[in-house]
Amino acid sequence: MATDLLVVEDLKMYFHTRDGVVKAVDGVSYTLNKGETIGVVGESGSGKSVTAMTMMRLIPMPPGKVEGGDVRFNGESLLTLPEDKMRAIRGNRIAMIFQDPMTSLNPVYRVGHQLAEPLMLHKNLSKAEAWKRATELLEMVGIPHPESRVKDYPHQFSGGMRQRVMIAMALACDPDILIADEPTTALDVTIQAQILELMQELQQRTGSAIIMITHDLGVVADMADRILVMYAGKAVEYGTVDEVFYSPSHPYTWGLIDSLPRHDMTEKGELCPIKGQPPSLIQVPSGCSFHPRCPYAKDRCRTEIPASRTIDGSHVAACHFAGDPGFTRTEMACAGVNVG
């Protein structure tokens, strides 16, 4: 299809370590259309970032190894592309925003220099042109006095401002896809909202597609068109925002939603966390990898790996019982998990 900008197909990225094989990404598929936003959510270590890094080919290999699947960008497989062609895509067609703005800017260069770098690398701009564009970019991301700030060093910026600079850097070459790897995790709540708003605004202006990686459902609820929920390297639920939020079908997604504070909660009402820890990716539990933490687990879950079941349309969930009429989230699930 012409509209499919990025197709991730059954991607598997394993790390071969001394302790064993870490199945960081184990069969993840999704498609991203032009100008669309997809939210990738899941706990720490569920393989969200590794999925993105794999498509950017930023994973050191070894120890990493792509064990299967494909990533196609405009129909071209990124995984087999020669390194120089891949370099022309990185930062140019697909750009990335990192989690921690405090450490993602090089402390020895002026901000303008760092903004100018992708422009000089990909657009063959002269130094003067690139710096001029850098000033415009700073203005675009809402930094006051861009003409003088462009000559400042990163340590003269606050965290929120630095994240704005990172966004400006990523958008410098008008990329088709912007990968935002937990862009607001290191920022405080008010700045988070500003940054998200800025990203939405710029997306409308530039038409970039966004892959938003986060562990915060609240972040993607607002921005994303579709949501991919990951657990232990696998996609457990995939669908539009409305499908995932209003008719979640996987017990893990239920758990994630239940662990969010809600408006209608009483003051003393307890949050309902998901019991236990994410599993080690070296020894993934047999059957459904979520079964040790799943309050609905049955014998079948312990032995049989669930296949993706279509709920309706594009909405799929990897649970044996997803979509079964009798299999619904009980209001008591929270209390049941919490007791003890």
């Binding site: 950017m56 930023l58 370099r87 022309a88 895509i89 990185r90 930062g91 140019n92 750009a95 990335m96 990192f98 989690q99 921690d100 450490t103 993602s104 800017l105 090089n106 402390p107 020895v108 260069y109 770098e117 992708p118 690398l121 990909h122 006051p144 006095h145 003088s148 000559k151 400042d152 060093y153 340590h155 003269q156 990172m166 850097m169």
Partner: protein, 321 residues
């Protein structure tokens, strides 16, 4: 009510203007400290370190004296090399006096002139030998640190072999093989110095390599060489500047030791190490003979070490004032 609307508009405008002005003031207050460069910052911190400043001044004085020696030393104090046979007996082993501030040696030559000329060789050895070490050390350390794996193992085990030999003995052995002389001393000291530099640089690269901004540069599509030279190098070079400055002192010391043992520059060319060696015979009768070159070695080496120490503090980005 018609009147209200423009008034309200004005009120709104005024408020906006006030808010903007307030933001501007806040911004100006924040950026009150002028935007300095990193090196400017370092110099600012270094200037506060008195010892380092004294060391810099002393090094500058030595360098100027050594470079301009031909212009004033022979005219004022006599030739540091040739022996004047006519005045030899009269000028032998004179104690310090106005005409000869450091006295004269057993061959009637002015000790001050010889110390100044000796500085030429000592400083040259210090700078050139260290430069050789740094070039070899940076390249090998960078290769090992950036690529890791087998390359790294090979380079670091080779460095370990170098470390396994006693430094001075190794230097003597190298000079013995190459033959004593100006160039060979440079080579011997320079070649022996690289393992420490490579090791320091490698570990510094290892820590910088895993920084987010290196990953970010890669995500922007920068090539290996660009990442290495533009992003990793500038962030890991500070320890090398410090270590390099200190090893200039070390190289001078090694050269003095080699010359003392007769393996360095050959007489009659003046060299601090050899001057001390020659003066041991007159230790009791003319102690100043060994005192002056010893003093020269001490102060020069100390200056480089103190300067290195000062640079370590000055280049530390975490020390914000």
């Amino acid at each position: 009510m018609k009147k209200d609307s423009p008034q309200m508009q004005q009120e709104q405008d005024r408020k906006t203007a006030e808010a903007t002005a307030a933001a501007d003031t806040a911004y100006d207050a924040l950026s009150a400290s002028p935007s300095r460069t990193l090196l400017g910052d370092a110099w600012h911190r270094l200037r506060k370190n008195r010892l380092a400043i004294v060391a810099i001044i002393w090094i500058i004085v030595m360098v100027i004296a050594a470079v301009t020696a031909d212009l004033w030393v022979p005219q004022r104090f006599g030739d540091p090399i040739t022996i004047n046979t006519q005045t030899l007996t009269a000028d032998r082993l004179l104690p310090p006096q106005l005409a000869h501030p450091f006295g004269t040696d057993d061959l009637g030559r002015d000790v001050f002139a010889r110390v100044v000329y000796g500085a030429r060789f000592s400083l040259a050895v210090g700078l050139i030998a260290t430069a050789i070490s740094i070039v070899i050390g940076l390249v090998l350390g960078a290769l090992g640190g950036y690529y890791g794996g087998f390359t790294d193992t090979l380079i670091m085990r080779t460095a370990d072999v170098f470390f396994a030999f006693p430094y001075t003995l190794f230097a003597i052995a190298l000079v013995a093989v190459l033959g004593p002389g100006f160039i060979n001393v440079f080579i011997a000291i320079g070649v022996l110095g690289w393992p420490s530099i490579a090791r320091v640089f490698r570990s510094s690269i290892f820590s910088v390599k895993s920084q987010d901004y290196v990953q970010a540069a890669r995500a922007l599509g920068a090539s290996d060489i660009r990442i290495m030279s533009r992003h990793i190098m500038p962030n890991s070079v500070a320890p090398i500047i410090v270590y390099g400055t200190m090893s200039i002192g070390g190289a001078i010391l090694t050269e003095a030791a080699l010359s003392f043992l007769g393996m360095g520059i050959q007489p009659p060319t003046p060299s601090w190490g050899y001057m001390i060696n020659a003066s041991t015979k007159f230790m009791t009768t003319a102690p100043w003979l060994m005192l002056w070159p010893g003093f020269a070695i001490l102060t020069t080496v100390l200056s480089f070490v103190l300067l290195g120490d000062g640079l370590r503090d000055a280049l530390d980005v975490k020390m914000k004032d």
